[in-house]
């Protein structure tokens, strides 16, 4: 299977601060990829690197086998819907569709028109007068009608109310089923991604914590609850994601490919949200320790 996105040691610095570092991932084609992490984790940076809006400070990235924004052909293959779904406030919806038609060789005018009609939007209306949800739908329509092989969406639903979120994601899903393209979308909320993604990347503090197909992630992560035990007494093939201890009890979230036979543990299935939170928690726990040591 071919890759839509390959990064090796990818990093990007703003001044002295690394917004993204040592990012090595390989996303196979045909997935809806969720990129999740807290605000400021580097999600937008990674997506901008993938769309060629930013140049890497370190490492390399190829998207659909080419250099991001390397030329008109590469740009035509990758669609990008930016954070807050910007549109030209002074132009009408019809103008936006015309813009797409003029600037994209593979523009699907019929699809764009039908989509706008299905959403019940008036093509003569100015984009500046649309609601947040309608504006997001317009930006998505422009992104979809470009007929990209990969569509990148940066926090597309962040500013939408729950109903508009559902409609937006539903529209996106219908389009992926119909036109067979890969999607990478970011969010700081797992619940947004849970329904639509089959591949997940967790990005915390400018590093990729884990990346993989959702099914596989769910099958390899477990929560262990039992009598208090130090992490170094766990088997070597069990990687601790997060750990919590009370006086008597320990709770671990671990990653392992092997089955768990230790009868002392109560093993529970994690939800996707728990899994992501465990990775974020691990990070904050590290930082807490570091702070305490400093004191």
């Amino acid at each position: 299977m071919t890759s839509v996105l390959q990064a090796q040691g990818l990093g990007r610095k703003y001044g002295k601060r690394w917004a993204l570092r040592e990012c090595t991932i390989d996303i196979p084609a045909g997935h809806v990829v969720g990129l999740v992490g807290p605000n400021g984790a580097g999600k937008t940076t990674l997506l901008k690197l993938a769309s060629g809006q930013l140049e890497p400070s370190a490492g390399g990235i190829t998207v659909l086998g080419g250099r991001p924004a390397g030329g008109p052909a590469q740009l035509a293959k990758v669609g990008f819907v930016a954070q807050d779904t910007p549109v030209y406030a002074g132009l009408s919806i019809a103008d936006h569709l015309r813009l797409g038609a003029r600037l994209n060789p593979r523009w699907d005018a019929t699809m764009a028109r039908e989509r706008i009609a299905r959403l019940g939007l008036d093509p003569t209306q100015r984009a500046g007068k649309l609601s947040g949800g309608q504006r997001a739908q317009l930006a998505l329509t422009v992104g979809l009608a470009k007929r990209p092989e990969l569509l990148i969406l940066d926090e597309p639903v962040a500013s939408l109310d729950p109903l508009a979120r559902r409609e937006f994601l539903q529209g996106l899903m219908e389009a992926t089923v119909e036109h067979k393209f890969s999607v990478v979308l970011s969010s700081h909320l797992v619940s947004d991604l849970e329904r639509v993604c089959d591949f997940l990347i967790v990005l915390v503090d400018s590093r990729v914590q884990v990346a993989g197909e959702v099914d596989k992630l769910m099958a390899t992560h477990h929560r262990l609850t039992g009598p208090r035990r130090d992490p170094d007494r766990l088997p070597a093939d069990q990687h601790v994601v997060s750990a919590r201890h009370t006086d008597r009890q320990s709770t671990y979230v671990i990653r392992t490919d092997a089955p768990i036979h230790d009868p002392a543990w109560t093993v529970t299935q994690l939800s996707l949200e728990d899994l992501v939170l465990a990775y974020m928690d691990k990070h904050t726990a590290d930082r807490r320790v570091a702070l305490e040591v400093q004191r």
Partner: protein, 348 residues
């Protein structure tokens, strides 16, 4: 891309065009009358040799329009830089729409090329047309103006001929470049204005006088170059002469240096003890009793006092226009290259 540029630009372009048409109509209606007045006046004044006075009266009668039009042509390029150049990129950055348009199947370089060419050429065309229209209209007035308002003088030179076109191109690209660096519309506009104004001042002060080496020559004193002859009324003291920034027979020239020479060819300082003219004020044409007038100047002239002027003659108007426009074209080219590099490498 051409369609998009036009779609975003047509509003302000149409407004600008409408204003320009209004100006053109006003100039077309009044221009021929002005030219006719001038020829009639010249025909009358050459008979009794009073053309100096006619020039003064003719220019004085139209100085408001003259100054207003000159100002319009001087301001137009700055406006192009401020309102078309500076916001070209900052507006996209502030609204985030650069992420929309630069992710269509078109490179940023191409986007900038079309925007820059279309808007820039329009700005140049407007400024050029406006400049040439005003040049045509004010031709009779330019022929009558001297000193600070002379055609070659800094104030007027930049508002005539083809130079406004060069200024507009430069101001526009300057606005774009500053916008890329500053990334916010209002600061970019302010900085564009400041830099453009500084360059527009530096050009006539530092560069333009040296485009061709100026002519230095001596002239007899007369009505054209003598501003004021000061004969002290209390007797005994010597008279003083102050000079106009004009040279006889070369109306419209730009006088860079202007001095009075005494009969032995030495410079007479503008003020102080040495500034006095050594001519008798107790008797003869320079005595207070002889009354003010030409007589004294003729006498001073006879004694050998001369004006020594360093100037750029009017005949160099078009060579200077081409050189100046060329210099601004080079600036424009340099900034254009810089902005293309910048948009590919730095901007996101």
């Amino acid at each position: 891309m051409i369609w998009l540029t036009w779609r975003q630009f047509r509003g302000s372009a149409a407004m600008m065009a409408a204003l320009l048409v209004l100006l053109a109509v006003a100039l077309a209606l009044t221009g021929p009358g002005l030219a006719a007045d001038y020829s009639a006046g010249i025909a009358a004044c050459t008979q009794d040799n009073t053309c100096d006075r006619f020039y003064d009266q003719f220019l004085g009668g139209h100085d408001t329009e003259f100054m207003a039009l000159t100002l319009v042509v001087l301001l137009l390029p700055a406006l192009a830089g401020l309102f078309w150049g500076a916001p070209l990129i900052t507006r996209e950055l502030e609204a985030g729409t650069h992420l929309l348009v630069w992710n269509q199947s078109i490179t940023r370089g191409r986007w900038l090329a079309v925007k820059l060419a279309l808007t820039g050429l329009t700005a140049m065309a407007f400024a050029g047309l406006c400049g040439l229209m005003v040049t045509w209209w004010s031709d009779p007035l330019d022929k009558s103006a001297a000193e600070g308002l002379a055609l070659m003088a800094p104030l007027v030179f930049g508002a005539r001929g083809i130079a406004p076109m060069g200024y507009a191109a430069f101001a526009f690209v300057l606005g774009i470049t500053v916008g890329m660096l500053v990334r916010r519309t209002l600061p970019a506009m302010a900085l564009t204005l400041a830099v453009f104004a500084a360059i527009q001042l530096a050009m006539p002060l530092l560069v333009r006088p040296h485009l061709m080496s100026p002519v230095t020559a001596t002239f007899e004193l007369g009505r054209t170059n003598v501003d004021n002859l000061n004969i002290p009324q209390d007797g005994g003291a010597l008279p003083r002469v102050s000079l106009n920034s004009a040279v006889p027979g070369h109306l419209g020239s730009w006088v860079l240096a202007n001095n009075l020479l005494d009969p032995s060819g030495r410079l007479i300082p503008a003020s102080g003890e040495g500034a006095a003219i050594k001519v008798s004020t107790t008797s003869g044409p320079c005595a207070p009793s002889a009354g003010p007038g030409e007589g004294c100047i003729v006498e001073i002239n006879r004694l050998g006092y001369r004006q020594q002027a360093t100037y750029q003659p009017l005949e160099r108007f078009w060579p200077f226009q081409w050189m100046e426009t060329g210099i601004y074209a080079l600036f424009t080219l340099g900034l254009t290259l810089l902005s293309f590099r910048w948009i590919r490498r730095r901007l996101s």
